[in-house]
Chain length 333, copies 4
């Protein structure tokens, strides 16, 4: 068994990592760190995990807590990974980080979008950007992976194979996310009565995930995220000016042939098809009337957009089956 430590175990992604580890044939989640709930029984923090981890407790993180660990999953608030990455990298263990800290390869872009200087710019080059379908070989060879964000994963997988067909400076992405993307912190924006029966755009012109999209896609991306009244799921609706008549669906089908978690189809995808699974469903069209392409992708932001992608990356890093512990079937309905 592979000994796994989870940093941020009391959050939504931490909980999801624990759910996936419970189904994984080789991952044994032996250390669960979460400062805000340290000392509590896991069953009290996450009752849905009570039967699977009857004796587990959440601990406060300490420097030597990773001794004997083979794999570190970090799902920490933005910025915290920068403080501990050097130590973890020094241990030589496999490290998959979900924060935004090490996703961008350019410290200047980080400072521009995150409004602060990067605290460990020399480590940026040590991390591979974690989208297995696009960087599989590099992930296999890496000791550290910065798993892609939920919106970027959806958008980049929908558009990257279409780059030869479009003008990347005309990309517009309108995406809707379930509320879990905002995390477990208590905010007026995530109060049930704010979100239920509501739909609203946020982060207008300024959402930080734009940086990842532009890093992978090139061009100027106008990204508008929305909050939808659902627990999970992201749907990204992407448009761009086409260079000419083209078949974007064929381009996607060719690019993702044989991928275990990517389903390309003419049918307009539903986020619900992916609930709890590591699948992403994608479609695309060329619009003769306007000369533009339309590409739409759907995934579960906590799985393919977070914990599942982390497990998929870790599987690759550790040389085990890429789909170990992961389902490609959504919980439906």
């Amino acid at each position: 068994m592979i000994k796994v430590a989870i940093l941020g175990a009391s959050g939504f992604v931490g909980a999801e990592l624990l759910r996936l580890c419970a189904a994984h044939p080789l991952f044994d989640a032996v250390r669960l760190f979460g400062d805000s709930q340290a000392g509590m029984a896991l069953a009290d923090v996450h009752p849905h995990l009570a039967l699977a981890y009857p004796a587990a407790r959440v601990e406060r993180f300490a420097p030597d807590a990773l001794d004997g660990i083979d794999l570190v999953f970090a799902a920490l608030p933005h910025g915290q990974s920068q403080a501990i990455a050097a130590d973890i990298l020094g241990r030589g263990v496999a490290f998959v980080d979900l924060g935004a800290d090490f996703r961008l390869d350019d410290a200047a872009a980080y400072a521009r979008w995150y409004k602060e200087e990067h605290k460990a710019p020399d480590l940026l080059g040590r991390f591979v950007y974690g989208i297995p379908e696009l960087h599989r070989d590099a992930i296999r060879a890496a000791k550290a992976v910065a798993a892609a964000g939920c919106y970027p994963t959806t958008t980049i997988l929908a558009l990257k194979p279409l780059l030869p067909l479009i003008d990347p400076d005309t990309i517009a992405v309108s995406a809707a996310s379930g509320v879990s993307g905002a995390g477990k912190a208590l905010k007026e924006d995530t109060h049930f009565n704010t979100v239920d029966e509501n739909f609203t755009a946020y982060g207008l012109l300024s959402h930080r995930h734009t940086a990842e999209m532009e890093m992978e896609l090139g061009g100027k991306v106008l990204f508008t995220p929305h909050l939808a009244p659902m627990n999970r799921g992201i749907l990204a609706t992407c448009t761009a000016q086409a260079k000419g008549p083209c078949d974007p669906l064929a381009a996607l089908a060719e690019a993702y042939a044989g991928e275990p978690f990517v389903h390309v189809s003419e049918r307009s995808p539903s986020v619900k098809w992916t609930l709890g699974s590591n699948a992403i469903h994608i479609t695309a069209r060329y619009d003769e009337r306007t000369g533009r392409i339309l590409a739409i992708a759907a995934l579960d932001n906590l799985v393919k957009g977070a914990a599942g992608q982390m497990v998929q990356c870790a599987n690759l890093m550790l040389g085990i089956d890429e789909d170990a512990g992961l389902s490609n079937v959504g919980v439906w309905p």
Copy 2:
């Protein structure tokens, strides 16, 4: 009192018209037509109206049923108004139709988008397109109004004042609607288990409301509607290439100063602010980074996008207070 007949009283818009008439100081809904439920007590069809209309019944429509009526509201399935419009127009009563039948001024555009020939093309010129904020004087003078569709109302009000600032051939609209927009008919797409916890795009490249948008906005509009898991509400997120640096929010504020139902604000609007009301909330931005404008509008599809707009138009046609029977306050939370 003004004697009102409602065609389509057993549907969602019919029910909403009845709710609004119950609050209207002058409208008395005396004849309720609905073929599929004809003969039933209204309280059995719509229990939420039982206290307001304890004795009302739904009737089958017949040619002479409109004798003595002052105002006809029609909320019928697509195509049915074409068959009865000539008769209603011949009576000289005020007529507000919500169907798509008489919205477009061009029978060829109708045939192109609706995939069938228009059956009463000679009557198209008799109808004013029903968005009071844009065609108030014409509505005041009209005997017949074709109230705008829900998506077009949202999009057109968000973008029309910005036309001097943008290239209309680059407009892209990504909109989300509550499920009531699809009506009361039983379809797999509107089964609770299909929609709940889901988000999906539909009508890709081909939604008929595009025609209304292009009629009012000019240019080529790429419109992508989505179904969101909520009863009501439409949010339209619109982008277009700007001609240059500009202040779209100021343009909106100027255009709608003094409008009783339009609220322009820097804040990103929420559909929930409009629930049950005739209000529309709009914001806009100019994005220096990409040179594009972003405009976002929210309304209740069954009120400002349907029944409320019908009442607002009828108020104008009949020379009474434009806001009679209408609220500008959403039911929140």
Copy 3:
């Protein structure tokens, strides 16, 4: 116009009072108090009210702030009314309080259920318990009313006419509420991701509203509230041992004949029929098999269960039409 002050204007009930006052022919909400948001424009606190109250601001409460006020609505956190009631009563203005502070007529029952001594027990007798259908004459004659709680209103209206038919010591009430009943405060229990797609019981054996039910119904009530994933609405499902075969539906119909906001019907009521309205829908059955009665009632917890009932009581106190400013039609769907 009647000058109205609202204490707790930034909360959910305060917002609902403002919505109802905007529709009321005589109520002018001129002073809005809310300490936590004092100084903010109302449009920033409650954007859904922006068009109706464009210039209003939320103020900090001060002793002399009620000068010139005719009617005080208080929707404050539990316990706060006890501190200010003497001053308000001294002014001789109409006062409708929604807190639990003055609902019970027995200070000992208050101490037992609320786990603290009452701070103004001598004022308890000055307040009439605010359910107009049961205490209309007393409310008309009162200067101070303690509007009933949301669960008690639902339960008491469903059961009080049935008391001659049942053994009150066998009453069991299982009720479900929308989340707005828990207020606007940020709590893990009201985070969207806690509530959405969830259903759970809370306050087992100990919910304080039991005290009001027992005060009005007599007997021993076992009350189990549940949280349902919806903004508003309460449904109370009540059972009790019958004294013998009986017709509880007829008893309800007789008791509420002519009531403007009570609808008695054989049909099982839906909370959605009442959304945004002051209506309550009730049904009942006698079960021959078990010898028990089943009574079910539905209302909107923020209207008939809070702000609407407050307005209804104030209308009675001030001698104006009981239904002024109130709708009996739910916003449906």
Copy 4:
């Protein structure tokens, strides 16, 4: 591998069986029957299964279609199993039926609750009632199991260990179910706009699942089911007169010690903890004030209340690990 046939593959339970089989180490779903969608690719009927079953098709059932099959799962509309049970039993294969057809051991009770004569009363004795926690040994020895209904599983598991403590003739059960319990058929009751933001009781005094509860619990059960606006989940809130002071939580903990899918805890259970899993969470209290017990249980109606329980039963019948293919961790949030 065990060759599995699924009757009713195009319904909700059929889809869930396919999801569970995809995760099962030994079950190979090789024949999928569903008359209404016969001939369609499974990926078109259930897109969420497209990656797991890329080549599967739905077939029309025919007498010889079960040749070579080891295990039959039937999830058919009420009444259909009676017509085919004799043939399946004659084959000697393992048969798990989810319909109500063979759950009751008494044909008279069937006729009384289902309002029709049973068509194969002689086969009733061949089926074991499928709740593994209560009838494990009998299921192990059986060739045919009638898996318990969703409401009965929840209620019976909550109350059976408490029978020595209570008067069974005073049991009242108020339960709420997600909409998937009503199946995929298109009905006004399951239209999104009927259910969303709604809560309502149905089947008053007459829900057929009462029969199963009384069979297993004895006594007179007054059962009132409700529809809640969620996809899945059942919460049953059960009360009964206690014989005297008692500790029902201890009784439950003792009864279910070591059970892989039952979690007994003082905490009030949430249906969401069980989403997609085969877990059931239960709590109980004795109320000194009223002398009654309160027991509450939560599960996923499509898993522990349907497909998961079927798999659990089949695992026992086939002598493989009871939890093979089943998770005890809910998909949360």
